[in-house]
């Protein structure tokens, strides 16, 4: 099966390329670094890797090795909150992966299962926090593994835009109350400007205050755009599952495609991509396959384009 055709094999291949590239950025010994110009998001990557490693045992072993070595960078709360947004297949795959890390380290990761037989490969290294793609980890090293670091990451991504707590909660995978409290405190500390968005005055929005010396310094840290990897991985896994189990008959497949796209609408809107499908069974199948292949390729190769 050619790699530029949408199939279970090609979808897995592109997804593995994506995961390997992001992990290589984090310090794994991968062959290709395609994502040095986009921010890595650790917890969605870990959860997606737990699923994808069924296709690549080495990815599982190497990433587990990294997690065991660098567990202090990982947010259990974010893992838990992200897992609430994913399909059952992802959640189930994460159980044994999480159990393996928990067996090696005292962490409160969510998920249960039988641990994998794991012994450290000793190839992992501590992540280089000065890599632009790893600004998330650098912020965590500075502000703690907390909602504060995540909120700042997303505010720094668009420093001149006012953003509300709901949007930041969605992006950061921390609770809305937690995010609202964080924004309040950061504003009181002089790092953020606040205004209201509606005439009713009930929609508080925030942005970084460039006058603050700390903010000026932090802005220099964020040299690459952040990506909604949570949305990407939800879509990628759904595409893999679809490619594996899509109905054989074209009409049923076309209906399944449209049903899936309705489910993925929100994530695809965040990612700024949505397939334009012509009408008719054959056209829907053809256009979707073309879009899915291109989307997977783009996510896997993102920073090289």
């Amino acid at each position: 099966m050619p790699i530029d055709t949408f199939s279970a094999e090609s979808a897995q291949r592109w997804a593995l390329d994506l995961a390997w590239s992001l992990w290589t950025e984090l310090g794994l010994s991968g062959q290709r670094r395609s994502h040095s110009k986009v921010g890595v998001d650790l917890e969605p990557l870990i959860v997606a890797t737990a699923y994808l490693s069924r296709f690549d045992a080495r990815l599982r072993d190497e990433s587990l090795d990294w997690c065991v070595l660098n567990f202090s960078f990982v947010s259990s709360d974010r893992l838990r909150n992200f897992l609430r947004t994913v399909d059952e297949s992802l959640g189930q795959a994460f159980g044994p992966y999480s159990a393996t890390v928990k067996k090696a380290r005292r962490v409160s990761w969510p998920g249960d299962g039988r641990p994998f037989a794991f012994s450290s490969t000793r190839r992992s290294v501590a992540p280089d926090l000065f890599r632009p793609a790893l600004v998330q980890l650098r912020l965590r090293a500075t502000f703690g593994v907390s909602g504060r670091a995540e909120v700042l990451r997303w505010l720094l991504d668009q420093p001149d835009h006012f953003v509300g707590s709901l949007e930041l909660a969605l992006k950061s995978h921390y609770g809305k109350d937690n995010v609202a409290d964080t924004l309040d405190l950061l504003a009181r500390a002089g790092l953020l400007q606040e205004t209201v968005m509606t005439t009713a005055g009930n929609q508080r929005v925030f942005r970084l205050d460039r006058q603050s010396n700390i903010v000026s310094a932090l802005i220099d840290w964020v040299k690459v755009p952040q990506q909604r990897w949570d949305a990407v991985f939800r879509v990628v896994v759904r595409l893999i599952e679809f490619a594996q189990a899509a109905p054989a008959k074209p009409a049923a497949r076309a209906v399944a495609i449209q049903g899936m796209l309705l489910d993925l609408q929100s994530d695809l809107r965040w990612l700024g991509t949505f397939p334009r499908l012509r009408q008719g069974v054959d056209a829907v199948n053809q256009d979707f396959d073309r879009w899915a292949t291109k989307a997977l390729q783009n996510w896997a190769r993102r920073a090289t384009e």
Binding site: A252, V255, Q258, Q279, V284
Partner: protein, 274 residues
């Protein structure tokens, strides 16, 4: 060439033909007719637009390989949907039925109205939807207040595949079950199988009954009256339909309107026979 109809759904009255012009670059002289279909519960208004000289081309939608309006376009929350002709309705049901079968799902519905008349070949006018009057569960007719989730989702996805409106299968006339269908209705239905979907189509005789009732309600300029004319009912059929319709609405006002409709259909002195 016959005027080609299509449906425009818009959130306000201002959109309708204006939208058709914007989308299709039509001139006023090219538009033969705009007619409101129905006010949707979600405040969407649907209009049938007929255009002289064959199907209009949506020049903005060059992505679509098909000429004409076989495309769903979206501008400012408005959508254009292709009307259902017999082949499109058959194809849409086949696609829906196949997808239900693939998922191991099965439904039996009882259909009345324009869509079912199209499937029976009794009328040729395009229609917007297929009206479901009942589901069949364990051999019994059940009132479909809402479509089952699995069927509704599959129908919605099918609509997106085919470019037709998302509520193309709906339980609009389900209220008819409250007062009862014509006696022997179930035994006269015509069964069509589409994979996991079985459609029981109301017979021609029963459609006459239902259409007369609807035509009295909506008047001689309605599509129901036109459908009734197309069905060429006999005097006896119309009188039987009238007697049944009066069981649904025994009011003097309805009777008066009913007599007018019957007269319009060539049944004089109906009062003596009701």
């Amino acid at each position: 060439m016959r005027a080609q109809p299509f449906v425009i759904s818009a959130k306000s009255d201002n959109e309708k033909a204006h939208l058709a012009q914007r989308l299709c670059w039509l001139n006023d002289s090219e538009i033969a007719e705009t007619r409101q279909l129905s006010a949707r519960p979600d405040l969407m208004l649907s209009y049938v637009v007929r255009v002289h000289g064959g199907p209009p081309r949506i020049r903005r939608a060059s992505h679509n390989a098909n000429p004409g309006v076989d495309v769903t376009s979206s501008i400012r929350g408005c959508r254009i949907h292709t009307m259902l002709n017999p082949s499109l309705l058959e194809e849409s049901l086949a696609v829906l039925g196949e997808s239900l079968a693939e998922r191991g799902l099965a439904f039996e519905i009882v259909a009345v109205g324009g869509g079912s008349l199209l499937l029976l070949g009794l009328i040729s006018r395009p229609t917007a939807d297929l009206d479901v009057v009942a589901f069949i569960e364990a051999g019994r007719y059940v009132k479909p207040t809402v479509l089952p989730v699995d069927l509704a989702e599959a129908a919605r996805a099918t609509a997106r595949v085919m470019g037709i409106r998302e509520d193309w299968i709906n339980a609009g006339p389900a209220g008819l079950l409250d007062f009862g269908l014509p006696a022997g209705f179930a035994g006269r239905t015509v069964e069509r199988r589409y994979g996991g979907l079985v459609v029981h189509l109301a017979s021609r005789r029963d459609q006459v009954f239902l259409k007369l009732y609807a035509a009295v309600d909506q008047g001689p300029s309605s599509k129901h009256f036109q459908d009734l004319v197309a069905l060429s009912p006999s005097r006896e059929e119309l009188l039987g339909a009238a007697r049944w319709a009066m069981t649904h609405d025994p009011s003097p006002g309805f009777r008066s309107e009913l007599l007018k409709e019957l007269a319009g259909l060539g049944v004089e002195n109906a009062d003596r026979h009701l």
